[in-house]
């Protein structure tokens, strides 16, 4: 089985850190993996995405085929919607609720939330509040990772080890805050699915 995950966000939100953690976790389990990233100009506050694919057999394409993503994991709700054509019929969208408004024509927030809520499977997560609860707004990306974690088909300990590996150079308190954020996100997403 191969899992296809689209990570979506805005340059500077910590998207590549998420990708690195999931990648570490998959690698530690001996899985095959390909993870495509966006570098360079697009990272300057623009829309960024990462295609993450892992599984127990060799992976050919670095890019996900439209219509086959199991999960869109988004740090920003409009960016979640940008990749809907990639979502498989049974796929789920897990997104931060808070918009990142750095453009003049950002759509009405409620319209975006409504469109996500109209999807058969979705989680809209108040990542900012949960991150503050964990101790730092900067760990909102770990809250979203936690919220997406039940849908990654990776064991939780492997993901937690991934966090520890990626933040290995940081003080223990930073690692702990990120792990608390992850757990709060995971709990928030574990409520039964609506619709």
């Amino acid at each position: 089985m191969i899992r296809n995950v689209i990570l979506a966000g805005v340059g500077g939100q910590g998207l590549l850190t998420l990708a690195a953690i999931i990648g570490e976790a998959a690698l530690s389990l001996g899985l095959h993996l390909k993870q495509s990233e966006v570098h360079g100009m697009a990272q300057r506050g623009g829309a960024v995405q990462s295609h993450l694919r892992y599984g127990d057999r060799p992976i050919h394409s670095d890019l996900i085929w439209e219509g086959t993503a199991d999960l869109i994991l988004a740090l920003e709700p409009m960016e979640a919607l940008r990749y809907l054509p990639f979502l498989s019929p049974n796929g789920i969208v897990v997104s931060n609720r808070a918009p990142f408004v750095n453009i003049p024509d950002y759509p009405e927030e409620s319209t975006i939330h409504r469109e996500i809520e109209a999807l058969p499977r979705h989680r809209l997560i108040d990542a900012v509040a949960l991150a503050k609860q964990a101790g730092s707004e900067r760990c909102a990306n770990m809250v979203i990772l936690g919220a997406g974690s039940p849908f990654l088909s990776l064991p939780e300990p492997a993901l937690l080890d991934g966090i520890r590996t990626v933040f290995a150079s940081k003080p223990a308190s930073v690692v702990e805050t990120n792990i608390v954020g992850f757990r709060l996100g995971r709990a928030a997403a574990s409520k039964p699915e609506v619709n």
Binding site: V10, G11, G12, G23, E24, L27, H32, L33, K34, Q35, S36, E37, V38, H39, G40, M41, A42, Q43, R44, G45, G46, A47, H51, P58, I59, H60, S61, D62, L63, I64, W65, E66, G67, T68, M78, E79, L81, R82, L84, P85, F86, L87, P89, N102, I103, P104, D105, Y106, P107, E108, T111, I112, E115, S169, P171
Partner: protein
Amino acid sequence: MSIRLLLGDEALAQGALDAGISGVYAYPGTPSTEITEHVQKSDLGRSGAVRCRWSANEKTALEAALGMSYAGRRTMASMKHVGLNVAADPFVNAAISGTHGGLMINVADDPSMHSSQNEQDSRVYTDLALVPCIEPADQQEAYRTPAHALELSERHRVPVLVRLTTRLAHSRAPVTINTPRPQRPFSLPDDPDRFILLPSRARVSYERLVALQAALQQESEESPFNRFTDGPDRALGVIAAGIAHNYLMEVTDGAPNRPVLKIGQYPIPLRSLDRLFASCERVLVLEEGYPYIEAKLRGFPRRTEPTVLGRLNGALPRTGELSPAAVAAALGLPDLPRRPGSSVLSSRPPALCPGCPHADTCRAIVDALAPHRTAGRVFSDIGCYSLGALPPYRAIDTCIEMGASITMAKGAADGGLRPAVALIGDSTFTHSGMTGLLDCVTEGAPVTIVIVDNLTVAMTGGQPSAARDRLERISEGIGVDPRHIRVIEPHPKRHAEFVALLAEEIAHDGPSVVIARRECIQTARRGIRRTEGGAE
């Protein structure tokens, strides 16, 4: 043997380290930057055992690499596709002189222009220079490429082009790493005359290069990077080059069930091509970038003349990068069920960071030009400051290529434009702006040159700038009147002062250099973080 998770760029760099290179020469450029950065971060790079500092531009990089090859060492130059334009002169002529130690030239193409001004295909350059090219399909092949390319280079004393494209350059996968081999010892060529390209000797060297083509063709026929796989469905055969092969395997679940020629080394392997053409009614060409192979196949009638399908007949989009969906459609596979795109999206282009010094410079230029109504023009080029073209700044009128700001402003001034302003970054200035400034000084051209000095190569991630602490002295040394070399900190608090300074220099009937100096907000932040880390 070990397994590491590496970007395509990093896999290539690791392969080069393990193949015993003694140096890498490069100028940063997306998507090639991480090749050199991987060497810089490696033990061999950090200890100085492998030379790896950034060069001033791609031309100096490739020339230095050729010099290291002359000294008998294995080496490589790395750049993005448009960097090869800058380095085209040494590229074409190094093929004629030939090499001594193995020399590979890594070029990362950017189809779909994710971070570039065009999507030119570097394979076209191999026809100009008559050199072989390796195009790896995945990260493991990228790792294997240097050992193969450097041996090929040494066997035939010819530089080898290595072509990557964005999706391989910037995609990670586990890569199996082999035991490294030692560097080659210093040695000089025993036939040094071929490096003297005076016409009489250049003709001899060029004849050697032309005569070499048959051997390079034979290399392609036998290359492990080219592979013909037969299959039962002969109605449609497929040629898949580089990462296009991955998309083919993806959409057919690893079993295309038809004849497939995977191409990863050029010149195009003709023997396998003959087999494919002999057995198939139609042939679909899957390749990232230009229809390079496809164009060569059209109009060359072979024995059975199958119909060729690809980007030129609409089977695939003529421009932009390939995707699994595009390849599936070209193969005639049914569409997967997919959701329509959202109707409420706004585009979110990249933008200058909040607090970016370039934003202050853009605002000052716009206000300084306001009294001239719509007469003035601002010529710029490649860097984060190119984003000054977008709202809310709308501060620049042109962005063509590295260094074109100063020279275009001069030409426009020659043509009668007043005021003519150039906006160029610190690193772009030392990359290819200095010679243009010399032209301005030679003729006393009335051009106001604003150098936005953020003390780094910002757009590619904050590499050290060769311009650091040198801009005033370079400008003065080139001959700009010291009274018209001005320095200011671009900052909202100093906006009025900046506008007044620009107005004075715009009024000057000769070349001025205005250095707007404030550190990139990104590198400044990282610097702060480093300090904090040290305190903890």
